[in-house]
């Protein structure tokens, strides 16, 4: 039996080696990533859901056509109501602006600051993604300098402090950082002006803009192009008040309860050379 097995392995050496190497790779992938998505029930469900979606869409179209006449009548009366409320809101807005200015002046006098002073570890970028499949920034500080996994990373560009990402791997004298634009990077954030919260997520190196989701639809009434998005400080990884980016576009579908905002990051990652690892978090 052993002789037969040996003979088989000798004869098909290359194939056996391939099988062993592929098996080891698959086991490593399974162990280091538990998001395996090939599940028969989910595949079957997806297949059936396709037809369900088609049928529902068709029936909604028919119903929508009949409803449109009624909706037109309702829209007319809503418009008149909205005009009246807009006039009232204008007056309230003027009062809010005055109150805000007063608040700012009082805070300056009291010397309050939103920026929390934190110990920072300065580091230099020594390597970036070695291929086009993953996003990594490698820096020249590690365990010996006090860097830990989970620490937030910031940088300064054009006079502004901006979020870079977080530390995901630490070596003895180096560390790997997951940048903000990676699809696996999620940052709890808020719009600086209206204080509405949301979740900012990268879209990959291909896409220069980040996306901010789960922002209440109310926020679009008090949002403008260029508004600052800052970290909310929730979750413990990223301290509060760090600049994430600026609002560029937003989208609000009628059937959705939240907005989707496109945010341009403060940091231009192509020009990133030096950064700071914050000792809070981790």
């Amino acid at each position: 039996m052993a002789g037969l097995f040996e003979g088989f392995v000798k004869r098909y050496r290359k194939g056996v080696t391939l099988a062993v190497l592929v098996l080891v790779s698959l086991i490593c992938l399974l162990v280091s990533n538990r998001n395996v998505v090939i599940k028969p029930k989910e595949i079957g469900h997806s297949f059936v859901a396709f037809f369900q979606g088609g049928l529902t869409g068709a029936s909604q179209w028919v119903g929508g056509t009949f409803n449109s006449i009624r909706e037109l009548r309702e829209a007319k009366s809503e418009l008149a109501d909205a005009r009246r409320r807009l006039a009232e809101a204008d007056e309230v807005t003027r009062e809010v602006v005055a109150l805000r200015q007063q608040n700012q002046a009082l805070r300056e006098q009291l010397g309050l600051s939103q920026a929390v002073a934190m110990k920072r570890i300065a580091a230099e970028v020594i390597a970036k993604d070695h291929d086009n499949l993953s996003s990594t920034i490698t820096v020249n500080k590690g365990m010996h300098q006090g860097v830990k996994t989970g620490m937030a990373v910031i940088a300064f560009q054009d006079g502004l402090e901006g979020l870079v990402g977080k530390v995901v791997n630490v070596g003895i004298a180096s560390a790997q950082i997951l940048p903000l634009y990676d699809p696996g990077c999620y940052v709890s954030s808020r719009l600086d002006r209206s204080r509405h919260e949301g979740l900012v997520n990268g879209q990959g190196k291909d896409q220069p803009l980040l996306v901010m989701r789960y922002v209440k639809k109310l926020a679009k009434d008090n949002m403008a192009y260029g508004d600052l998005v800052v970290t909310a400080g929730l979750g413990g990884t990223y301290p509060k008040g760090i600049n994430v980016g600026r609002v560029r576009e937003w989208d609000a579908q009628s059937y959705e309860t939240s907005l989707e905002i496109l945010v341009e990051p403060i940091i231009d990652f192509d020009r990133l050379e030096y950064l700071f690892i914050l000792e809070s978090g981790g």
Partner: protein, 171 residues
């Protein structure tokens, strides 16, 4: 030390140098958001010249090295590079390598295969890859770089005796 072992060790050294170059010097150049995969071109050459055994073992070990340098889950790059190394090794001894066109064709197919495999593996294992999946995005820029560089890299690799097939194996 057998010829295959020497070839594998030498290939691993070359692949390590390529990966380091890609992550340091090449990442600082403005290359349209993508960079050439020198390690892939070297793997293709070595597999075609030395066969599946050298190709797949080199691909596996260099893939591990790539995983250590990136945030990709362990096993992601070894799986792709092992398969590419093995497949190209099948043609060892059966292919005439001219100086220009064959390196380009082999590299184009390898890059497309890498895109396909990365998409499949990412989809099955739920990996959020920031780079190209299947055939979108920077794959095409990388393809252009790889294609242009392949004849030069093949010519350079042809100077190393250890990577040449033995007389028994044929050209």
């Amino acid at each position: 030390m057998g010829r295959d072992t020497r070839a594998t060790l030498f290939t691993l050294l070359l692949l390590g140098i390529c990966i380091l170059l890609q992550s340091t010097l090449l990442s600082r150049l403005p290359l349209g958001g993508a960079r050439p995969d020198l390690a892939l071109i070297v793997l293709v050459y070595v597999s075609v010249r030395r066969g599946s055994m050298v190709g797949q073992v080199s691909g596996f070990v260099s893939g591990l090295f790539e995983d250590f340098m990136s945030v990709a889950p362990l096993g992601f790059h070894p799986l792709m590079k092992t398969i590419i190394g093995y497949l190209y090794g099948i043609f060892s001894g059966n292919m005439f390598l001219d100086p220009v066109f064959m390196p380009m064709i082999l590299t184009i197919v390898a890059t497309l295969l890498k895109g396909l495999l990365s998409g499949i593996v990412s989809s099955i294992f739920g990996i959020e890859a920031s780079g190209f999946l299947y055939f979108r995005g920077r794959l095409w820029i990388e393809l252009a770089f790889n294609t242009v560089l392949s004849p030069f890299l093949f010519a350079l690799l042809g100077l190393f005796k250890v990577l040449k097939p033995s007389d028994k194996e044929g050209a």
